[in-house]
Amino acid sequence: MLAFAIRRFGQSLFVLVLMSFLVFIGVFAIGNPIELLVNPQADEIERARATAALGLDRPILEQYGTFLKRASAGDLGSSFVFNVPAIQLILDKLPATLELAFAAMVLAILIGIPLGLVAGLRPQSWLGRGIMAGSILGFSLPTFWVGLVLIMVFSVHLGWLPPNGRGETVAVLGIPVSFLTLDGLAHLAMPALNLALFKLSLLIRLTRASTREASLQDYVKFARAKGLGPGRVIGIHILKNILIPIVTVIGLELGSVIAFAIITESIFAWPGTGKLLIDSINQLDRPVIVAYLLVIVTIFIFINFVVDVLYSVLDPRVRLGAAAGAH
């Protein structure tokens, strides 16, 4: 078990380094950042001086080496636009994005799994078919358009919820969170719902498929033959079996939710890393782009790693796998 974890960790580290290289090459090597920073009327000498100062005249590999060295010390360069450390910018905005992502994931789970269970247990009923039809609608809807509609309905028409920004925050362990205040919740509601929609539909479909497959298994018949009530058969026997693939998917989708938050943040002007990224792309603020990508990649790799380990914990059949060999 430990060997497995260590091996996976090593792999993760390798992927991280690889990604950092790709990111670096992609962002820095193409295009000429000097054009952005230097006054267009600057003459050759100015340009040359700026280039040398930023180290842009060195060979690519050397630049990458310096970059890597500084990165492992936590220094990812300064934003061209704001002139503060890029990593600082990212980390400042990260809690907002993570809060949004988690809220969306929680919503998707709390709504999606029960609906999927119902649809899987009674696939031919009106409710079951309605849920499935709804789920098709759910992942066909363009996220950004739904966001607009939500604003239309709840902000413009009904005036119930604020259309943008993040609400009041409260510091928990030094990190500002907004869901603990009523105002914060009001601001969080629409973006979280918007972001959750796509994952919700996927979760419904996944849960439904797993439930259907599980309910046809012999162990369900056997459980019923023991005289167990439907509550226990569904709640324990079926649920425990379907939770394994579902948890894995949730874990993997969490990374995707963080990425999709970029769109939601743009629509609702949610002050997270996504908005920062878009602005940086438009302004060619490369250090920030690189910092963002590296932070995200790290988060992803970490999530993947945790999911892998979690999977082996959840499924007792996998646990023995390497250690004890076949029974």
Partner: protein
């Protein structure tokens, strides 16, 4: 035995209503079983024997449905039961053992969870006393050091061990009737023998009735008191094991007996029943065995009704072997 039999099935009909048509999985099946006796239900796959077992437990799922007939257990007509009453019955007064132990035990739950829940579903006792009961019944099916086994997961066990656990679960609430659906088919021949012997002993000791569903006549020979032979959803012959095996009347039963390799005279080709079992979909009005029967006569164009050629014997045939 005197008095009301433990189980009486009369004219049971269970059909599957599929898009392609109606499949008469169980077609007018009648049987009776007394306490402490073993009934063998013999037939090929698709003969309806498993479905009969499921019907008795009320585990028939859509698109299948019991269409007509009565099942009376301990004097109670099971058709009168509501869902809650069925749950009180299952695993308690009637228990079932399935064929593939790999899949009947839930792979992600521990053994003790799966055994204790069987007890707690029917008795309001503490978890500790339920566990005690589990240890006891595991001992009865021949599993030593039960505590270790209880904390394990199904995939830690071999097939034979898993089936013993399944049997233990069936026995745990001291049921009156046990239905065993080919429980040894998936196992080693040596294990098979052991389990057969133990099941027989357990039933004799507890006085429970046992219905043993199988395709293997030789298993029945050593184990059962009575036998029902099924073909295409109908019981074609039944009686005591001694009677039926020594004087089979239905040509199908004869064919089954003749094709047992142990009965073959060395040097002669193995006897076979020609042809294949018919599709249950679109079965015509004739006797289902007609196409393969060497004794078919004109009357066989209409499926025969059940007759009683001798006390304790039932038969569906117009032209039985004497």
């Amino acid at each position: 035995m005197s008095g009301e039999p433990l189980l009486r099935v009369e004219g049971l009909r269970m059909h599957f209503f599929t898009k392609a048509g109606v499949v008469k999985a169980v077609d007018d099946v009648s049987l009776a079983l007394d306490r402490g006796r073993v009934l063998g239900l013999v037939g090929e796959s698709g003969s309806g024997k498993s479905m009969t077992g499921y019907s008795i437990l009320g585990l028939v799922d859509a698109p299948g449905r019991i269409v007509s007939g009565r099942i009376v257990l301990n004097g109670v007509d099971l058709a009168t039961l509501d869902a809650a009453a069925w749950r009180r019955l299952r695993g308690n007064r009637v228990a079932m053992i399935f064929q593939d132990p790999m899949m009947t035990l839930n792979p992600v739950l521990r053994i003790d969870t799966q055994m204790v829940e069987a007890v707690l579903a029917h008795h309001d006792v503490s978890r500790e006393s339920a566990l005690e009961r589990c240890r006891e019944v595991l001992g009865r099916v021949g599993i030593a050091s039960p505590d270790e086994r209880l904390r394990a997961y199904p995939h830690h066990f071999s097939g034979g061990m898993r089936q013993r656990v399944a049997i233990a679960i069936a026995l745990i609430n001291k049921p009156d009737l046990i239905i065993a659906d080919e429980p040894t088919t998936a196992l080693d021949v040596t294990i098979q023998g052991q389990i057969l012997f133990e099941m027989q002993k357990l039933c004799r000791e507890s006085g429970a009735g046992l219905i043993w569903i199988t395709h293997d006549l030789s298993v029945i020979a050593g184990l059962a008191d009575e036998v029902c032979v099924m073909y295409a959803g109908r019981i074609v012959e039944s009686g005591t094991v001694d009677d039926v095996l020594s004087h089979p009347m239905h040509p199908y039963t004869r064919g089954l007996l003749d094709s047992i390799p142990a009965r073959n005279v060395p040097g002669r080709p193995l006897a076979q029943i020609p042809g294949m079992t018919p599709a249950l979909l679109g079965l015509g009005p004739a006797c289902a065995f007609r196409e393969r029967c060497s004794r078919a006569i004109e009357s066989c164009a209409v499926a025969p009704a059940e007759s009683r050629p001798a006390p304790g014997r039932a038969l569906r045939c117009f032209n039985p072997a004497a």
